[in-house]
């Protein structure tokens, strides 16, 4: 399911990169798919960690379930939308940034919680 080749019928000309006036959109199937799968998963796990912060008052048996349910929509949502990035590099860059941001927020929230 990773490297999905473009259908030959539907992408007739693989444009030489950089020749079009507006930046062309590269397909980059493998790198975009991997970015969505890997960075989407880490983003989803961190998002579920962030969700635990406002749910701290609930019993873990309940908040833990809610946090688990958050993972697939964020993960697969990221994977589904990753092909809107103009290139595989951009997908990795932006999603890495989102991961760092989310992890930073979580770190801050835990500092606040500990204080």
């Amino acid at each position: 399911m990773s490297a999905v080749p473009a259908e030959s019928a539907q992408s007739p000309a693989s444009r030489p990169a950089g020749h079009a006036p507006s930046a062309p959109i590269r397909t980059d199937w493998l790198s975009k798919t991997l970015a969505g799968l890997l960075l989407g998963l880490t983003l989803a796990l961190t998002a579920s960690a962030l969700l635990m912060v406002p749910l701290a008052d609930l019993p873990l048996a309940v908040s833990g379930q809610l946090a688990m349910w958050l993972v697939p929509p964020v993960w697969l949502g990221t994977l589904s939308l990753v092909y809107f990035f103009a290139s595989g590099w951009r997908a990795w860059g932006w999603l890495s940034g989102a991961n760092v941001l989310a992890l930073g927020l979580w770190w801050l929230a835990r500092q606040g919680g500990a204080a």
Binding site: A6, A9, A49, S80, Y83
Partner: protein, 541 residues
């Protein structure tokens, strides 16, 4: 939106769809039938196995004696109820030691009844497990057992399915208004199928998103919990609840099940706590241990049921103290209700009979969506006949996919119908009903696939549709024969005529499709996937 995005997402939709379509067809077709698990269970139960209910408390001696004399029953003993009365047979199962959590293939089933002299009679049962088998097909996309690797495979399919849903919407968005309100019935059959695929997909999109995401959860929740426990919960998740710690078996004196409150009182306590709740079974666990519990299972037609079976209140069977209402329909806290709604939205355990029928139809529509999607894939790759030219030889992959689509989908329909119909003929003739049901399904399923590949899609489609229609017709015919000739072994049950009527309608629909397909393969345009090669200038497969 730039055209490149649309084109890329079209590729994503095509590939995720084609990889998951066949598995999803089985999941949706079997899942649609699983909605009616209860009537199907009753339909397939021989009349000799149906006991007359007795007043609730008349079952108390049976419960107490079984729990005192059958150690294996202590892990979970179930008594069913009907209209506020008890079915005087208690059931429990002993799981195979190495079996997966969800895998009941090697479990042994036991039942206890009260003999005329008041003694408990225990017997090993060989239940047909028919509805469980159809449910397993649904849960693991047609594979034979609900075990971890198969569930993970299902999870991959569900993830592909989710990506196919999003990408399909992206492709459709720019022309949404134009395409959504258009069903171009006409000469261009491919256009019509595509329009119908779009309309059905978009109208049932919320249903499909719920199904895809919850199926991913069902496949991978253990793994997600494990990672979250290490990353977020600092190992707290895997810890047993504090109340369970520190109570060693020796702490409490062994309890005597005869001291438990009678069932009527347990039911009354729950009904006071939840007025709309209608109990339908009692499940006793660890009755002689330090943490005895009885779960009063049931449904509240006005409320969301936390699980497919309904909801339950947990009680101490000796004191009658309510231990938990976390899973009690109608009495859940908001966060618990929120979580339960994910299950309920997948399993149609809310809203009563109307929602069951809605889910049944949405499930069948979903199956059609995947069948049609595959056919569109085939059609898009087909080489057209040049004007006046010879019939072109089609690509190998399209021929394979066309045959696989016809064989897998129609084989699944035929196999499930045949194994359901067999439920009226197997009891009393064979001992291991469950293996027979599995064998019958896979024989019909695999034979259909083999036939489709042997003959090619066009030649196989109509005969396989007739086969599916005949197998489905066998369901009401078995009932009819049971009514006319009870000596033959089958039986008719007036409570489940709805099953027979639905199967009859289904078989008529399949017969209509068979006729239409046969007409098209023999008299439709020759330049088509659905044309049987005729004596034209150059006949070729």
């Amino acid at each position: 939106m730039r055209a490149e995005f649309i084109r890329n997402y079209k590729s994503v939709h095509t590939w995720t769809g084609i990889l998951s379509g066949l598995a999803l067809f089985i999941a949706f077709y079997a899942g649609a039938l699983t909605v009616f698990k209860e009537p199907l269970l009753r339909w397939s139960t021989p009349p000799s196995a149906i006991l007359q209910p007795v007043p609730l408390d008349a079952a108390q001696p049976l419960i107490a004696q079984t729990l005192s004399t059958q150690p294996a029953a202590l892990r979970g003993l179930t008594m069913r109820m009907e209209d506020g009365q008890a079915i005087p047979r208690l059931e429990w199962k002993v799981r195979a030691p190495q079996a997966d959590d969800h895998d009941d293939r090697d479990s042994r089933h036991y039942a206890a009844t009260l003999a005329a002299d008041g003694s408990v009679q225990v017997s090993e049962e060989h239940p047909s497990q028919l509805v469980e088998f159809i449910d397993v097909l649904h849960r693991v996309v047609g594979l034979p057992a609900d075990i971890d690797p198969y569930r993970w495979f299902m999870g991959v399919i569900a993830a592909l399915y989710f990506v196919a849903l999003v990408s399909g919407v992206v492709v459709l968005l720019p022309s949404l208004v134009k395409d959504f309100f258009a069903l171009r019935v006409g000469k261009n059959l491919k256009r019509m199928w595509l329009d119908a695929h779009n309309v059905v997909g978009l109208v049932s999109l919320p249903f499909h998103i719920v199904m895809a995401l919850s199926a991913v959860v069902f496949a991978y929740h253990d793994q997600i919990y494990a990672v979250q426990d290490r990353m977020i919960h600092q190992g707290q998740w895997a810890q047993p609840p504090a109340s369970a710690q520190g109570s060693k078996p020796g702490d409490a004196p062994a309890r005597n099940p005869a001291d438990m409150l009678p069932p009527s009182q347990l039911v009354q306590i729950v009904q006071q706590a939840a007025p709309g709740f209608e109990p339908n079974s009692l499940q006793y666990t660890q009755a002689t241990g330090p943490r005895p519990m009885v779960r009063v299972w049931g449904k509240d037609p006005q409320a969301v049921s936390p699980r497919a079976l309904g909801g339950f209140a947990a009680l101490d069977p000796y004191s009658g103290k309510l231990l938990s209402t976390d899973y009690l329909s109608g009495q859940q806290s908001t966060p618990n209700l929120f979580i339960s709604s994910f299950f309920a939205l997948h399993m149609a355990s809310f809203g009563g009979t109307a929602v069951l029928w809605l889910y049944f139809l949405l499930g069948l529509a979903g199956a059609w969506l995947f069948y049609g999607g595959n056919l569109l894939w085939v059609e898009a790759r087909r080489k057209a006949q040049r004007k006046g030219g010879a019939m072109p030889t089609q690509r190998r992959d399209t021929a394979i996919m066309a045959a696989a689509t016809v064989g897998v989908c129609l084989g699944c329909v035929a196999g499930i119908s045949l194994t359901i119909a067999a439920a009226k003929w197997l009891p009393g003739r064979v001992e291991h009903l469950a293996s027979w049901h599995v064998g019958i399904y896979y024989t019909a399923f695999l034979a259909s696939i083999a036939w489709a590949f042997l003959r090619g899609a066009a030649r196989a489609a109509a005969p396989l549709l007739w086969l599916a229609a005949a197998c489905t017709l066998a369901i009401p015919l078995s009932t009819l024969l049971g009514w006319l000739l009870p000596a033959a072994g089958a039986w008719a049950d007036s409570a489940t005529l709805g099953v027979d009527a639905t199967a009859l309608v289904g078989s008529l629909a399949l017969a209509w499709m068979a006729k239409a397909t046969a007409r098209r393969t023999h008299h439709g345009p020759a330049d088509s996937v659905w044309a049987v090669p005729r004596k034209l200038p150059q006949p070729s497969a």
